[in-house]
């Protein structure tokens, strides 16, 4: 019986629900010592002196180091230099030596017998700073007179990047019946995986080999970047292991200074060294997400047809660049600005900017939520301007089923949307929410002075981020491929081990990949083990992000499975004394066509292949296949989310009454896991709309520096979500899968904002910047009731 498409319980759960799973902080090595890092309390300063003597003299302290001790190591690589950023690159050093550009930058490190002692010693390090003026706002940082962060980046510009047609869009805006202009702030967020970051490194002098355990979504990439770009050693001299990982949401993709620092220290000290980030450190030293200031102009005809979209965005990239920072607000943002719609003229210009704030890089969705927010707000602004129902404007502009493959006027740099039926998810969502009846209720509520709002978001996601020729394109991409790999090995007893270059940190790959193997090879899932996250023994992989593990990584597994079956047919035919072309592989057996009784099981064939004393001529022993899959295109999930809110007019508090999500992520392997991904994504998207906000004061101090101030969504602030799905297979890959990791985050934010704006639209409200705090809402309502207009 097929298991693909069924809600199989996750095979990784038993170790997680019992506390047996070993996360980074749970690993203890003999002789291990502990590191604590002194971080800059200033956002912009020169370091004039550091005195570590008192700290080093503390009992239990092994050593104290400063940036000077690592002056021979280069600054970290920036792997995605989109938009001609080459001359403006500034990245963190292992420890900063003479200057800091954000609060939380590492200055010195203490190694001690335990973390308590290390923290004591940190307090004893004396640092003199020459504090410099700071700038935290990306737009202000580009203005004349702003503090300058880096000599090689005049006006703090990281890059100027554009896509689409400036002239065509300008002309179309001129010709439009209506033009709506709006400033949209997509505020900075803190990813906040429940497990912070950490690393353990061990160096063996006899072999000159490092073993590095690290909280990484991309262990192979960590090894590549550390060995080739920082330490200058062959990658064979380093093994990188991602143990059990407690969530990532993008922030664990990147190479961070601490990972290189701890590896270097393990060699200097000659003992294994562990560093685990505290949550306070996590908030200042781990990457943030979003932080765009955007001006849009959208043109439309009277009938609701959108004719042009012009976008300028200041993207705040922080004090220094994280690993792929410039790629997020460019390729993954500007190229997505057509959304689910046929917009004939699009132009996007992005100014990437340095400011005295923490690094900004991919956070769940990474560019696509920002783009979707622009597009979905723009559609509602057009609807409001024309007095049309937002549903009607969406329908009017949707890419239609017969338009696929659809080229969004060239802005995707040659790629085309793969497949979809956007009206179908919209129809289903409207049906689930009872749209017409709800609009009547809303009208009645308005009569009673109540603020009921309905918000839609008909998004597309561009995921399965891969085609190497596209993502790696010089001057645009990150100068590397994004294929994935897999190895499938059927052992002598018929048990299967799959190794994959993908990395699972909550997504359930061990289950979903095993489902695919079980169906393809026709064996129980319990006979399949999926291994990942260790550079020793797994093929190279670029890692897990961009909703690409299924659409790229699992497709690699699928490809190997086909080749395993082909080989099994050769061997099975030989065993059955039949011609290879006369046998088929079905339900775990190779049998002669038309004679299911004349069969050899995969287990029998695996045994024969492994023992190998009677194989057909020219066939190598063992059922073992490695594949490297580089898809021809990304995949394009889509859907419609609807949020229903009611606002408390006295306080401005927003109550989410219902949340409906109808997604199409292509073919589904495990609906339970897909639903879970959607639930979590929605919570994060709602979190951005209503509560979450990373705020720096003018001096560059992070005001929202802990979970006491940064409001993560909590259970009692959210409703249960109502989900459904349509299934439009992707033609891009043989499995028809698209990807589901980020849809919720992408769709939810504009759905909530659109709902709140809709609730307040009788007051003339057309836009409110996030987070939609009660105070902002209350001020609007209060001004209206006092203004009496």
């Amino acid at each position: 019986m097929a298991v693909v498409g069924t809600p199989v319980k996750r095979t990784e759960d038993p170790r997680l629900i019992t506390g047996e799973a070993k996360y980074l902080e749970d690993i203890h090595l003999p002789g291990m010592v502990h590191a604590a890092i002194l971080r800059s309390p200033h956002a912009h300063a020169r370091i004039t002196s550091i005195n570590t003597a008192k700290a080093a003299a503390q009992p239990g302290v092994l050593a104290v180091f400063t940036g000077q001790d690592f002056a021979d190591l280069p600054a970290l690589p920036c792997a995605w230099q989109a938009g001609g950023v080459t001359n403006h690159v500034n990245t963190p050093r292992v420890l900063e030596i003479d200057k800091v550009t954000f609060t939380g930058a590492g200055i010195a490190v203490v190694i001690a017998e335990n973390r308590y002692i290390a923290e004591d010693a940190i307090q004893l390090i004396e640092v003199d700073y020459e504090v410099l003026p700071a700038v935290v706002d990306a737009e202000k940082a580009t203005q004349p007179g702003a503090p300058q962060l880096h000599e090689n980046a005049p006006d703090n510009i990281v890059m100027e990047w554009e896509c689409g047609s400036a002239d065509g869009t300008a002309q179309a805006l001129q010709a439009a019946d209506v033009v709506v202009r709006q400033r949209l702030v997509n505020q900075r967020l803190i990813p906040t995986s429940m497990e912070p970051r950490g690393t353990i490194a061990q160096f063996l002098p006899a072999t000159g080999e490092f073993t590095v355990w690290v909280t990484s979504q991309a262990p192979h990439v960590m090894r590549l970047l550390m060995t080739a770009f920082v330490f200058g050693i062959p990658e064979t001299k380093m093994r990188v292991i991602s143990p059990q990982i407690g969530g990532g949401f993008g922030a664990k993709i990147f190479l961070y200074p601490e990972y290189c620092l701890i590896a270097a220290l393990s060699k200097k000290i000659g003992r294994p060294v562990k560093w685990m980030e505290s949550r306070s450190e996590n908030y200042v030293a781990t990457t943030h997400g979003r932080d765009h200031i955007t001006e849009i102009e959208v043109g439309a005809k009277q009938d609701g047809t959108i004719t042009a979209l012009k976008v300028h965005t200041y993207a705040n990239l922080g004090g220094v660049l994280s690993t792929i920072a410039p790629g997020i607000p460019t390729t993954l943002y500007g190229r997505m600005l057509s959304g689910a719609y046929k917009i004939p003229h699009i132009y996007c210009h992005v100014s990437g900017v340095y400011t005295n704030t923490g690094m900004v890089d991919a956070y769940r969705g990474a560019g696509r939520p920002e783009a979707t927010y622009v597009v979905e707000r723009a559609v509602d602004l057009v609807a409001h301007k024309l007095g049309m129902d937002p549903v009607a404007v969406r329908r009017k502009n949707f890419v239609q089923p017969n338009d696929f493959p659809y080229d969004p006027v060239g802005i995707l740099n040659g790629l085309k949307y793969d497949s979809g039926d956007y009206d179908k998810t919209l129809d289903r969502a409207l049906e689930m929410v009872g749209y017409d009846r709800l609009r009547q209720e809303q009208a009645q509520a308005r009569q009673q002075g109540r603020y009921l709002g309905i918000g839609l978001s008909s998004y597309i996601e561009i995921c399965g981020v891969a085609p190497s020729a596209w993502i790696g394109l010089k001057g645009e991409g990150w100068g590397a491929g994004l294929w994935e790999s897999a190895n499938v090995r059927v052992h002598l007893t018929g048990k299967v081990v799959v190794t994959t270059g993908s990395q699972s940190h909550g997504q359930g790959h061990e289950t979903s990949v095993a489902q695919v193997v079980a169906d393809e090879l026709g064996m129980p899932m319990s006979d399949v083990i999926v291994q990942h996250s260790d550079t020793l023994g797994t093929p190279f992989g670029y890692g897990t992000y961009g909703s690409r593990s299924t659409a790229v990584g699992t497709v690699a597994v699928h490809r190997s499975l086909q080749r395993i079956k082909d080989k099994a047919k050769l061997i099975g035919a030989h065993m059955l004394e039949a011609a290879p072309e006369d046998v088929v592989y079905e339900d775990g057996k190779v049998h002669v066509k038309g004679s299911p009784d004349q069969a050899k099981t995969i287990q029998e064939i695996a045994g024969a292949a492994a023992l190998a004393y009677d194989l057909p001529a020219g066939v190598e022993p063992f059922l073992d296949d490695t594949s490297y899959y580089d898809p021809p295109n990304c995949t394009y999930p889509f859907g419609t989310h609807i949020c229903v809110v009611e606002i408390d007019p006295e306080t401005g508090q927003i109550d989410i009454k219902r949340y409906i999500a109808v997604d199409d992520v292509g073919k589904v392997i495990n609906p339970m896991i897909v639903d879970g991904q959607v639930h979590g994504g929605i919570a994060q998207g709602v979190g951005q709309a209503l509560w979450e906000s990373a705020v720096y004061d003018d001096n560059g101090q992070l005001v929202s520096g802990s979970l006491l101030d940064y409001a993560l969504p909590r259970a009692d602030l959210l409703p249960s979500f109502e989900l459904d799905r349509t299934e439009t297979p992707s033609p891009v890959n043989p499995m028809g899968v698209k990807g589901a990791g980020e849809t919720g985050t992408i769709a939810a934010t504009p759905a909530v904002v659109n709902a709140v704006v809709d609730a307040l639209s009788p007051l003339g409200v057309t836009h409110i910047d996030m987070p939609l705090t009660p105070r902002k809402i209350w001020q609007i309502i209060d001004a209206h009731s006092n203004g009496g207009d």
Partner: protein, 285 residues
């Protein structure tokens, strides 16, 4: 997450605890630890010595006293107070406020005494102790004294306790024939009160003969609102009286407001008015 080192003492009796505190002026009292340890973990607070009074059973009792009021030992936890029939009878607003502190884990171990001594302005029980006219019993090696809640709260994180002293209990009057309530807007991150309002109303028929109103969260310390009390007293608590009281509470607290990035002073001030009305309505329902 890694507190500084300190000397630790765990006296076995109240007398011993008071002696230790008397001998060590810099010693800090550790009760449930739910206010103290979070600050120590971040090294925002560092202490030479902690005196753990957590096991002094004489400080844990909740009992009904002669006048029908209730005496709550300093070590009674928020969960115990919320569940106490004595508190629910004499001072239901405090039982309800205790049930709104932090979360289930915090309520299990955080104590009323610790809460009062720490005096976070956004703490729920402290606001209600003030609204209810509670009395804080304090002991030291040299004697004991009691301080009315009206005098106890001095400033931000500052209360009337001297070195060597310990809160032993809080006495609350019998308010079973009053109408009382506590309502709050919880901060979405910290769960502390953005604004919390406690009201105690003495009623004669439909008329409110006297009122006590205390505001927390919005102000540097739990604060009485005399203007609002006057506006309520003598009224039938109709819409006009509630509006007048809401306006009054805003001026009552105008010079002691606090705020943060998303919930600044002006908003908290306005919400004090809104939550005052809600508190009165809750008390009457």
């Amino acid at each position: 997450m890694w507190p500084s080192a300190f000397e630790y003492q765990r006296p076995v009796s109240l007398a011993e605890a008071l002696q230790v505190l008397s001998d060590h002026e810099d010693a800090k009292v550790l009760a449930g630890g739910h206010s103290l340890l979070p600050a120590m973990k971040l090294r925002l607070a560092e202490h030479e010595m902690l005196v753990d009074i957590g096991r002094l059973s004489e400080l844990k009792e909740i009992i009904t006293i002669r006048n029908g009021g209730v005496k709550i030992g300093a070590l009674a936890t928020h969960a115990e107070i919320a569940a106490s029939v004595d508190v629910q009878r004499a001072c239901p607003a405090l039982a309800s406020a205790a049930g709104m502190v932090g979360d289930q884990q915090v309520r299990n171990w955080g104590t009323l005494g610790g809460n009062l001594a720490h005096s976070d302005p956004a703490s729920d029980p402290t606001t209600v102790v003030l609204a209810c006219g509670g009395t804080i019993q304090i002991q030291s090696a040299s004697g004991s004294r009691s301080v009315s809640a009206d005098d106890f709260f001095i400033d931000l994180f500052t209360v009337d306790i001297n070195p060597g002293e310990l809160i032993t209990s809080v006495e609350l009057p019998d308010l079973s024939r009053h109408k009382s309530a506590y309502v709050k807007m919880a901060h979405p991150a910290s769960r502390y009160a953005v604004v919390g309002v406690g009201v105690v109303l003495e009623m004669s028929g439909n008329t409110c003969t006297s009122a006590r109103v205390a505001v927390g969260g919005a102000t540097v310390k739990p604060t009485r609102a005399p203007g609002a009390e006057s506006a309520l007293a003598g009224s039938t608590l109709d819409e006009a009286a509630l509006n007048a009281a809401a306006d009054a509470v805003k001026s009552d607290i105008a010079d002691m407001l606090i705020g943060d990035m998303n919930y600044p002073e002006d908003y908290r001030q306005e919400m004090a008015g809104v939550y005052l009305k809600r508190a009165v309505r809750a008390a009457l329902s």
